[in-house]
Subunit: 434 residues, 4 copies
């Protein structure tokens, strides 16, 4: 057993959310309720799942916290930044995700979570007017320095031994990777100092600041923020874990399951049309084409990898795949994803599958925030710096370096996740994933 | 490499279908077209999939026939029994599954496939009047003897070195396992000779006859036919493989995928309502409550096993699961399965998924017949007698003996299938499946 | 203007609901809230619609209360019978249809509405155990006398000038019309006195009692209660209006709209499959085949009449129509109706329409109760006794005598409804409805 | 009886289709088959419906041809223009709407229908490369003259006594009404002569030419072509009927039915999301934003008029209505429209309706072409020149002059249609439509 290599989860763990909207407030209010025994952390692997360790006759099913040292929910402390001034209680009430009766019992605790002012550049989120922002005339480097200062202050005031930073804010406009600026740490830092607003997104200030303070950073939106070599280098240099991007919640999660099934059964696919309607702030932001572009790139890649189109050109060589997201205010946080899938079977005969997923965006995302924060911290304690590809299970567009293909199949991702936990717990990993 | 233990697939392989309706005629016509290069065997693992053998740097992806000796499609010969006299061409035209242009090029070959007279007992399929039957006054034992004679004659006339018998006929009424009759081979044979029509279904005559002739027997309907100890004993005694039951085609296949996804993601389930409309002979038969009962038992078990309700009572302890099948003639073979699934996430909040699967029953089933026939024959050549649990991938209600739980998760079933093929091919199997 | 023939709506109007479950409590709580200005009577024609009176240049759009004398919502007083003892507040809370915030402001008023003990015969609603019932050993006639006494007491205690009785309780088992018992008033009264429990349903005791007290009676369930000549005769004899049967709420309402559209466009129909899932008391009762039978008869008739199958045999002569209702507790009052409709167009080519209606049974029914009670009272004041076919707009299976066909087309029904109101208001009716 | 005012339908009627794609070829092939007795004109009012004439005891139900003089299908002759050279047989085969067996019996007749070269300007249909076009360097006026010449030649060669021109080609880009060019006939003719390509769409050349030759013109796409005062004036001047625009086939037809039902029942609406997937040429053209704009304007207006939002602001004052069309090649002509409708009932409680319409665009459109051509000709024979608002029943965006509101409610439109036919047949019209 080599678990002793992992630093134990002692002291308080601070979870700093970038964005204190529907997702973060549902996550925080829920966690507070759960630790009072007034709810269950449904959807959280770290809290509910049992993982097999050992094999054959030695096989045992254990909770994650029985395999590796994990903080209890009582050890968590919450903070946030936002570009609007609502505290966590106001935000939760405004989001209308949780019912009043699931918010009021922790009202006092929520009201104390007042966001720190956010880094704001309207060019990156055209649909929202920030009213609670850091000085927009400052350079990206200066803003980053302010975020570092925020982290240090939070850590000290709350008495945290460790901090994790997790992005749960809007999708920024699409920033294509620019080799000159994004491929080396030096060039990147130079650009920040030169306030190169075209190549340095606000989210990058948070990511760089978090790593500078030794805090793991998780990118929950499809922003390319940490999906560039400069950030990978900085993560290695600072010894901090990073993970991204884009929480895999509803429609894409289903996609990574269904396409795995089609390939397993050798059923062909010639069309996949996905449309979404949602009415929360996320929907509003994604209604702007430049922001949708970021999401679209994140959502489209999924199928081809799982289906192995190059191996099976007769089955998957010609798929018409289209993804649409529509801002639709009547629904608020109740997102609906409607998929039509055109498959074909024996002798090429066509069949259709329609999936209508009436989900709640924040309800699906909240347990992912909890798991990613806790597992990001675990990676830090295990000395695993840089890109955490084993967390791809939670992510729509898993990070991978230039030489590798990401794994999208939900079940293969789960095996990878379990293997990492097994290894950190001193157990043997399963050898193969397909 | 130990593949030499497997007898090579030399000579012709006869595939005898019990029932020459939509499923069988689609299977046969398709196979004939495919071997002319006029179609693809979409949905067939044995023809299209590539399976990893070896590990790490030694990993290779190979077709099944590259791993173990398999007959080519040109080696196949087809025959059938039915209780109606239509030949395979007439049956395919009447089924309206394949288009005329996918039947006519093999018209001549199909017309030569005239069914042998079937074993018929109207008490077992109330909705169909058999007009092409063996003498209904004969005892079950005598009927079985006639089926044996049919098999021998077919084998000789067609010059087959081996034969497989596969049930692709109607669902019979539900015959609960009777310990006195079904649990020992002796008692079972005695009952056949005594013409105990209440406990011996017509399908059992085929199964017993097949094994007597050394032919693997596959049960594609939910009939409990070979799901009893007497048959297991006879399979061991005769050294023949058997597999069943109920082809896993549309809705249940999706169920075994979606429920695996929910459990993987720790999302709770509190309701699952499945309704089907279909208008072919299968639908007509299942409209009779006693026949539906057989199907219902087969369809309902799936979820609980996959979700591990005992391990996760908070998530899966209280699921309301209902399955309905409706005879609906306007659709003919175009089956539609509509599922509504009530799931819950973080803090117990409810969400809904609706899946509408507009499928074609026979198109989904045809490649399963092909695979099961070829893999049943492979098992025979590999000396694997008795219950073939590794074929559960294809079956809605996989056979298992009294001491074991069946595996329903499609992806775990696939791993088991691949492992069996790896082993027969002289490769190492993957150790674990979850 | 001949409106003076109608007695003005002076004094209080008592509305007595048979059954104080989800539907009645939603109706009563809603009405109380609405008259406080805390909600809108959405779905109610009498409260919201404007009807054209006059023609051409004289056309005017007026609210119903501007055309005929109508009571204001402030004039209404509520009472109920039930076989369970919950008061209206408890019932509304238990139903979980309205949110707490839409019940609490009228909690005091609701608590005062305590049900009178109900007439109960378990043979008629097998799924419910009545615990708050009149003496079950009494004869039907004696029970009816007790109900009359209840009505008189309520009227006096509440100071009502008029009373309406409306059935909003369970569907009873199917009682086919028996010519000997149901076709003459004499035979019917004799059977009541002889306590003929097989032919006299509990609901008939309420209907007979209401008429005896001069109160209009509305049948909201599919019970054949007042759909028999004996009741028509008694209604004429007592000068009271009666109307039924079965509130037309969700799926059937849609059906009467869609089939009208198909016929208008001369699109053919060859199949209509309707399935429902619902989890309230109504669903529980309908899960019993004898009770479902009553509902099925009510639901199936709709299409043929609208489509005029005899006039258009090429289009509608061969429709496979199937209706299923499934008890599905996870949904409670949130009823879901899924319809698949197979239509055909030019040259007979098939197309499909699927309608998924996620509705709330009680939300759809509540305004129908309000309208039917008020319009039943209007009929009384207008001296219109007997069967009120002009109220068919609200009813799934409109009453009609032996010589007439019912009108099911929602838009034609609306014209008929408006015409009756126009006439009562002294305006000319439109002449034709198709 | 004043029917004698209508010129009888003597001699041959030429139907000239602009565009010989899926819609036109399905219409023509179908009509030829139907007149051979090999199919039914399902969806056609003129061929199948019976209309009531007379009232009360005098009421009779008659076919249209029994009320007014109508040509028989045998009197019809077909011609077409297109910008691709395929003849009607090739086009029908390529469209894959009708099965081979419904095309081959009229192959010879179809092959003789070779399109005349079309008026083409790629700026108006960016997605299609015309290869069979009139000289693109000619002015709009010269092109119009060529079309006139085409009509005269066709009429003479085919020996037609009358001709109707019907647009069944692509949606052009959106041309907003320009007061200076489009509001007077003089200005319009001047612009044509000056070859003002920005304001004069190719479709306008056909419309002007048709009227010049005394041929009724029908606009089946959403092009604003004849929806401008200049065209109304020219229609009056030439005494020719015109009608438009945009065939009301699938989703919009359903919308005009469902919204009528909601208003009738006083159910509120707060959101309506409509998405379409289709893969034929129409879909390809509409994938270009400028062309979609034309369609969107046509599709969005429908709801508000029917719901009378100004009369019922509480119910319909705030509807979020969005329409999306997606080019999706896997489906070809099999269009699918998915609607999600958010309605609300009693006390404002929300409910949802989802409608999935798997339709065939050309199958729905074909009978509309037949009816509009025959009824356009009827209008001509009845001396009804100018805008034919009574044909709105068939049109998504019915033409109306500046002082009037269009009627969208399908049932009201049908009453208007029937009234016009009644009047032309010498019967009294019904007075009111709501």
């Amino acid at each position: 057993m080599e678990q002793n290599k992992i630093r134990p989860a002692e002291g308080k763990l601070g979870i700093l959310c970038v964005g204190l909207g529907a997702v973060s407030s549902t996550f925080i209010a829920g966690t507070l309720m759960i630790r009072k025994g007034m709810g269950k952390p449904v959807g959280s692997i770290t809290q509910m799942a049992k993982i097999r360790v050992g094999r054959g006759n030695d096989a045992q099913y254990k909770h994650v916290s029985e395999i590796v040292s994990m903080p209890s929910l009582d050890d968590l402390v919450f903070g946030a930044w936002d570009i609007l001034p609502d505290n966590a209680f106001e935000s939760a009430m405004h989001a209308e995700v949780l019912r009043d009766r699931d918010i009021y019992p922790v009202k006092g605790e929520l009201e104390k979570i007042v966001p720190m002012k956010g880094v704001y550049d309207q060019d990156y989120v055209k649909a929202i007017d920030g009213t609670w922002t850091k000085d927009t005339s400052l350079s990206r480097w200066e803003l980053m320095e302010q975020v570092r200062e925020d982290i240090r202050r939070f850590k000290q005031e709350q008495g945290c031994s460790r901090v994790v930073v997790i992005w749960a804010a809007s999708t920024e406009i699409y920033i294509p990777r620019d080799e000159e600026v994004h491929d080396s740490l030096d060039a990147f830092e130079t650009a920040m100092k030169a306030d190169d607003r075209k190549h340095i997104a606000p989210s990058m200030c948070y990511a760089y600041a978090a790593m500078s303070e030794g805090a793991p950073f998780i990118m929950g939106a499809p922003n390319t923020c940490i999906d560039i070599p400069a950030m990978w280098q900085y993560a290695e240099k600072t010894g901090t874990p990073i993970a991204g991007k884009d929480f895999k919640t509803g429609q894409t999660m289903m996609k990574t399951v269904l396409s795995a099934a089609f390939r397993t059964r050798m059923l062909g696919v010639n069309g996949w049309f996905s449309t979404n309607i949602l009415g929360n702030r996320d929907g509003l932001v994604l209604d702007v084409p430049e922001n949708f572009k970021t999401k679209e790139v994140s959502k489209l890649g999924v199928i081809d990898t799982i289906l192995k189109k190059d191996e099976y050109p007769d089955l998957y060589g010609d798929i018409f795949h289209k993804v649409r997201i529509n801002y639709y205010p009547p629904r608020n946080d109740d997102k609906e994803g409607w998929d039509n899938i055109d498959i074909f079977g024996w002798m090429g005969y066509p069949m259709q599958i329609k999936v209508d997923f009436l989900c709640k965006d924040s309800i699906l995302a909240a347990p992912l925030l909890l798991d990613l924060a806790l597992l990001g911290d675990l990676a830090l304690r295990a000395g695993r710096s840089g890109m955490q590809t084993w967390l791809s299970f939670y992510l729509k567009s898993p990070m991978h370096d230039d030489g590798h293909e990401p794994v999208h199949d939900l079940f293969q991702q789960y095996t990878i996740l379990k293997n990492a936990i097994r290894e950190m717990g001193g157990y043997e990993a399963d050898e193969e994933i397909d």
